[in-house]
């Protein structure tokens, strides 16, 4: 797939130009600098460019063209693309800007070219992109100022400028790429297509991406899950804040989707999220250079005590373990290290440490089975021979099966050493924190790679019953459902509190007598979503008198707060005590679909925002992860001798909700609030629900 896009035999440049400084010229020149393949300029105004015969029209070209690079004004692209289709060209890169990113007229042009590409089965990169580079086939179909160095990092970016910046940065420190893809507006080919390609691309060891959004969330997860088992995928996703996501919407005409959904999707599919370009490049270089550590036990080697401590702090706070050495390691270190040296972790060689001492210590640490990786720090003290130490590092790293991440700290005096590392493709992390973050990424990926993904188990449910409840609601024009639709949960085997509806006070009293006191009474209205706020919940009613009083106050309070709310009646429930309240919810994310949410219930929940997320469908493990990853998890698990809550029952409910929201795409929002969880072995009960439906 896409082979001829990255390694075409014949490339046409439509809109090739003789004028230096023009994009049409730069693209042609870049192509000519690559390996010997046939390059054909197309431009009606000239007959020859850079010594090549220039055709007036793509349809005049006698050869079969594999790839056409289009560099003409946006308005002319549809006609040209149509001609490419007629000429039987399979791959097109539209570099031209002026499409959806620019104006309404541009958006229309973009729709037009999508239709034309579909009609002819043309696969298209862009529009509004820098182009693509493949170092293994020596193709530079871009207007980048320089060709990328060869390497094993594949990079794709939704921003052309970020491509340029990365290439320039990489050029200075000698970082190489296998493929470089500017995604542009992603009118046709997008991240998922390239991820699939890169999965089996032997020249690529690491995939890095700058994205503003994904085109097809569920497919992204499927593809990424597959790819990340083979090679690491690192993504910077911009627009994580409100202002950022507004800029993304304005720029791309897409809804960014919630950042929580991206975090969940990335975590579930094994994608490593970087928070900045710098992090993305740091991680990419780490993966590009080092073998994966087998665990997260880190040794710190330094010639500066302070830097060693800072590094230890950084390791601890990111979740890496500062390892304890075996006795033999300590004994061997003691043999050669000065008396004042630190022998435990961090290992402090002291300020006058020589290259030989570094070499000795590195060897001993690498031999220790309790060491999965090393962070080596070098500070340029008066007696430090930085280049010699750098050489030791290079030599050791090249033969080591464990990662040794380097932090030559300083400025002018480490330059030579840094260059030496870079020349051998080894990154120098300018700060210990950055080295630690990259080590963490390596460790994380070690566990991602071996993670087994099991599909969620399909449970026996009464789907038709649920279907009927939803159909009836849609037929009656209702968009929001509440307590009256609790049957939906029953159909999916989720235990619900015993409850009955009543249309009037006398009916309510009768129902209360049947259920048995004490009871809870709740207002039922399609217009009220926060019952507590309008006085729509009365707890612990012990007799008919209580019920009567509660009924009248409730009706007058609700009328007072929401005079226009339609009131269908009240719901009477058993009063349940002795459990803990949790919430299970779902919002349908525009990018990834059903985003499940779990959190502890109660009044402070909205304020604390202590919730966890996952994209449905989830399996057992993911459900358990959701429950245990909230900060207040100990409260559910039981603190200070408390009986733990029935976590298995929560897991079970989460799985059933996952199945429910997968079965019914009409459910746009869903919330069980609260789900009352009883002590271990006693199960749970849904007390109230709220849903929003979408018209089919």
């Amino acid at each position: 797939m896409l082979d001829k896009l990255f390694n075409p035999d014949v490339v046409a440049v439509i809109g090739a130009s003789r004028t230096e400084g023009k994009v049409g010229h730069a693209v042609l020149k870049n192509l000519l600098e690559g390996s010997a393949r046939k390059i054909i300029p197309v431009n009606p105004k000239v007959t020859e460019i850079l010594g090549l015969k220039c055709y007036a029209d793509i349809l005049d070209v006698p050869e079969k063209v594999d790839l056409a690079v289009i560099v003409i004004p946006a308005a002319s692209v549809p006609l040209t693309l149509e001609k490419c289709g007629q000429a039987g060209i399979s791959y097109v890169i539209v570099i031209s800007a002026g499409f959806k990113e620019a104006s309404l007229e541009g958006a229309r042009l973009e729709r037009e070219i999508i239709a034309i590409a579909e009609k002819y089965g043309i696969r298209m990169v862009g529009p509004n992109c820098l182009g693509i580079i493949d170092t293994s086939s020596s193709l530079n179909a871009s207007f980048a100022a320089s060709m990328a160095h060869a390497g094993n990092i594949a990079m794709m970016s939704q921003s052309g400028a970020i491509c340029t910046v990365t290439l320039d940065w990489a050029d200075r420190i000698g970082v190489g790429f296998s493929k470089f893809i500017s995604l542009g507006n992603k009118a046709d080919l997008a991240e998922n297509d390239f991820l699939e390609l890169l999965k089996t691309d032997d020249s690529t060891a690491v995939i890095a991406a700058y994205l503003e959004g994904v085109k097809d969330g569920p497919r992204f997860m499927d593809v990424a899950r597959e790819v990340t088992r083979r090679k690491p995928v690192i993504v910077v996703k911009s627009g994580r804040t409100a202002v950022g996501s507004r800029a993304v919407s304005s720029h791309t005409g897409t809804l960014a989707g919630s950042d929580a959904a991206y975090n969940a999707a990335f975590r579930q599919s094994g994608v490593i999220r970087a928070n900045s370009l710098e992090e993305m490049l740091d991680y990419s270089r780490a993966f590009s250079t080092y073998p994966l550590p087998h665990g997260k036990k880190v040794a710190i080697l330094t010639n500066a005590g302070g830097l060693g401590i800072l590094t230890a702090d950084a390791c601890y706070s990111t979740g890496l373990a500062i390892t304890s050495f075996e006795d033999v390691t300590i004994a061997k270190l003691r043999e050669r290290l000065p008396e004042a040296a630190g022998l435990y972790n961090p290992v402090d060689l002291l300020g006058d440490a020589s290259a030989q001492l570094y070499e000795y210590a590195l060897e001993i640490l690498l031999d220790d089975p309790n060491v999965d990786g090393i962070i080596a720090i070098v500070s340029p003290q008066a007696m430090t021979d930085v280049p010699a130490i750098a050489q030791v590092l290079v030599d050791t790293i090249q033969k080591s099966e464990k990662p040794i991440l380097c932090n030559l700290a300083g400025g002018t005096r480490i330059t030579t050493g840094e260059k030496l590392l870079n020349r051998h493709g080894i990154p120098n992390y300018p700060s210990a924190e950055r080295a630690v973050a990259s080590m963490k990424a390596l460790c994380d990926y070690s566990s991602i790679k071996i993670k087994e993904h099991t599909n969620s188990v399909v449970m026996a449910v009464q789907r038709e019953v649920a279907q009927k409840i939803i159909n009836d609601a849609i037929a009656s024009g209702r968009r929001t459902l509440g307590l009256e639709s609790i049957g939906l949960l029953k159909a999916y085997g989720i235990p619900v509190v015993q409850s009955r509806m009543a249309g009037s006070l006398s009916e309510a009293i009768q129902v209360c007598e049947e259920i048995g006191y004490p009871v809870v009474m709740k207002i039922i209205s399609p217009d009220i979503s926060h019952k507590t706020d309008v006085g729509g919940i009365k707890l612990n009613l012990r007799n008919a008198e209580d019920v009567e009083r509660a009924y009248f106050t409730m009706m007058s309070d609700v009328k007072h707060y929401m005079p226009n709310a339609q009131i269908t009646g009240v719901q009477v429930q058993q009063m349940i005590t002795g459990g803990k309240e949790v919430i299970i919810g779902m919002d349908r994310d525009p990018q990834f679909g059903p985003l499940l949410m779990f959190g502890l219930g109660g009044t402070y929940v909205e304020f604390l925002k202590d919730v966890s997320f996952a994209i449905a469908p989830i399996n057992d493990k993911e459900a358990q992860h959701m429950i245990s990853s909230i900060k207040t998890y100990p409260l559910i698990a039981g603190v200070r001798g408390e009986t733990p809550s029935d976590i298995k029952a929560i897991t079970d409910t989460l799985l059933k909700v996952s199945q429910l929201v997968m079965d019914f795409p009409q459910l746009m929002e869903f919330e069980i609030n609260p789900l009352m969880v009883m002590p271990e072995g006693k199960g749970c009960l849904a007390m109230d629900i709220r849903m929003t439906l979408r018209k089919e």
């Binding site: 959806k100 990113e101 620019a102 104006s103 309404l104 007229e105 541009g106 958006a107 229309r108 973009e110 729709r111 409100a242 996501s245 507004r246 800029a247 919407s249 304005s250 720029h251 791309t252 005409g253 897409t254 809804l255 960014a256 919630s258 024009g477 968009r479 929001t480 979503s529 339609q566 009131i567 269908t568 919002d587 525009p590 746009m668 929002e669 929003t692 979408r694 018209k695």
Partner: protein, 357 residues
């Protein structure tokens, strides 16, 4: 020739809709229909002549041939009001009767629509009951039923009418779904016990309160940026997008058929509205949205309207617009006719008017 005057205690109770619906139905039954709104209180300019907005609309929709000056012989201009206050004799009764004679000629039935409230025109001795008496026709009272206070209004109207002989009966309109039971079990029997005939109980219908995109454009003096081929789509509610985008999308999804009002610079809210498939976007502050957002709106078939006013003033205008819309759209007329057919005792009404076909 039979006739009836449709009156109400308040404006926006559904008089025009009822006249229109009855007109269509009676025409279907083969009757020759005439229509008058004797006193025009909603002045508009029609080809350089003053006319009443309601009656001009109904004249067109029912395809009436009568001259506008007979359909609405008296227009409440400032001059007329000043003259009435000064006691200048204007021979309004003669004008009324002359027009009525013209309109009713060769007709089986004439529907008369009151001006505003039941007492409107009292300063010219032309309140609805006075007009009914002068033209010797009966009155049909239509009342919006929002709460039990509607019963008070009806009984009060009866006192204004004085001679209750001329009241044919009443229709309760726009009854909320949760009050239908109360109305049919308690209110109707109560009124009938008092000798008031109830010809119909019409439930609230959101579609009829809706406005079209073109009406929004017109009333907000807006510019349509995309979606010009969806001008006749109907909007039932409006929502204000002033929250963060995560809450916005939930909020929009809960309200079907809404217009979303937000700032032209809130591209995130705009995209949330497009994602939630709302009916239209109203962008305030004369801030042009980005081309990418417009492109997505166009693709989703969602009209985007740009207005000059700020969000607050736009909300005020929308608030007034929704529920006070004039009936212009074919779909709405169809719906009115359906509702009248289903919920109004047409045969009873025909009998009451003394038409014997």
């Amino acid at each position: 020739m039979a006739s009836i005057l449709v009156s109400s205690s308040e404006q926006y109770s559904g008089k025009s809709s009822l006249c229109l619906g009855l007109g269509v139905l009676l025409k279907e039954k083969g009757y020759k229909i005439g229509y008058m709104k004797p006193i025009g209180n909603l002045l508009i300019d029609v080809n350089g002549l003053l006319a009443d907005e309601d009656s001009e609309g109904i004249r067109k929709l029912l395809g009436l041939q009568d001259d506008m000056s007979y359909i609405t012989p008296i227009l409440l201009t400032e001059k007329l009001t000043d003259d009435a206050l000064m006691g200048v004799e204007k021979d309004l009764d003669d004008r009324l009767k002359e027009a009525y004679d013209k309109v009713s000629k060769d007709k089986d039935i004439v529907l008369l629509e009151g001006a505003g409230g039941i007492g409107g025109g009292a300063m010219y001795n032309l309140s609805d009951p006075e007009v009914a008496t002068k033209l010797d026709t009966k009155m049909l009272l239509i009342t919006r039923y929002d709460s039990a206070q509607a019963v008070d209004r009806i009984l009060c109207d009866l006192r204004i009418i004085q001679n209750t002989e001329i009241l044919a009966g009443i229709i309760l309109n726009e009854v909320p779904a949760d009050k239908l039971e109360q109305v049919s079990h308690l209110v109707v029997p109560f009124l009938e016990k008092k000798g008031i005939k109830v010809f119909g109980v019409i439930p609230q219908d959101h579609m009829l309160r809706s406005v079209s995109v073109s009406e929004i454009v017109e009333n907000l003096n807006g510019e349509i940026l995309v979606g010009a081929n969806h001008m006749e789509d109907l909007v039932e509610h409006y929502l204000v997008g002033a929250m963060e985008v995560g809450s916005a999308i939930k909020y929009f999804r809960r309200m079907p058929n809404a217009a979303v009002i937000t700032g032209g610079d809130r591209s995130d809210i705009q995209m949330a509205a497009i994602e939630a498939k709302v009916k239209c976007l109203v962008l305030t502050g004369n801030l042009h949205p980005s081309g990418a957002v417009l492109g997505s709106a166009e693709e989703a078939n969602i009209p985007v309207i740009l207005v000059r006013g700020d969000t607050m003033s736009t909300i005020e205008k929308m608030e007034h617009l929704i529920g006070h819309a004039r009936i212009k759209q074919e779909v709405k007329i169809k719906r009115i006719v359906e509702l009248i057919k289903e919920y109004v005792d047409i045969d009873g009404l025909i009998a009451e008017m003394g038409l014997g076909k």
